[in-house]
């Protein structure tokens, strides 16, 4: 399974199509992710928004994340399914929550971040690159 990817929330009110591959896929164990996403970790694929078509009513909530970045979470206004994450530090790209893709194919987390906030009983694949907190941003290309 490769692009295009299709997805929808639990109730079907919001759907999406993405025509490109993600820049990365990683999972986040931060406390905020665990509050919103039925205990976490969230598994997130970063896609360019110009390759993304979203249909339906998405509600947004923004706050300052543990990283210090301004983050907004997009969720279905009808059923509350968490679908998207925007980060003010990343222009033109949103993360898509992996669970909303109908068939994520080979997409799987390659790293785990904020492992310092994971519960004692968490099982984290030892093959994943791990970061105790927020990983550094890659250098900008412009």
């Amino acid at each position: 399974m490769t692009a295009p990817y299709q997805g929808h929330c639990s109730c079907g009110a919001v759907s999406l199509e993405i025509t490109s591959e993600p820049l990365w896929v990683r999972q986040c164990w931060c406390r905020q992710c665990r509050r919103i996403a039925a205990s976490g970790p969230t598994n997130n694929a970063l896609f360019m928004t110009d390759a993304m078509t979203v249909t339906g009513d998405v509600a947004w909530w923004d706050y300052e994340a543990a990283s210090g970045n301004r983050i907004a979470h997009g969720f279905c206004a009808t059923c509350g399914t968490q679908m998207f994450g925007r980060n003010a530090a990343r222009d033109g790209a949103w993360v898509v929550r992996l669970g909303v893709l109908d068939d994520a194919g080979d997409l799987a987390p390659k790293s785990a971040i904020w492992t310092s906030e994971a519960p004692d009983w968490a099982t984290i694949d030892p093959d994943l690159e791990q970061f105790e907190h927020q990983p550094p941003l890659p250098p900008r290309k412009d």
Binding site: A38, S39, Y63, H73
Partner: protein
Amino acid sequence: MHTGQCLCGQVTFTIDAEPLGARACWCRDCQRIASGSATINVLFPEVAVVYTGEIGTIAMTADSGNTVERGFCPQCGAQLYSKTVEPAGMPMRVRAGTLDDPELMAPQSLIWVESAPSWAPLDFKIPHFEQGPDSTRINGDVQ
């Protein structure tokens, strides 16, 4: 007394009971609302859980065939709970991440493992069930 809240704080709750159990659910619908993970649920008697604030609800038929109501905060989208409407009398599933102590109880079993993704790091020290908690157990004699 246990306490918890959604991410934005619009919804808070108290629970005047100890957990009846805790488990992780890998059903496809849980993965959809849990950002690709299992939901981690701590079970309580429904009467002991008291929510304050506005709650969005959605009713659905779960993979089990049961009629389930799920609650979420309409302001921040935090997933709060799942409760079974029909059949009645089942424990309420409070999403562990909404508890102020999210480590109140570690999962004691994994359910709906048959729909977990291939990359899921499953804890083989606890029982696995193909589907619901009364379905076929698939990881030997671990108690």
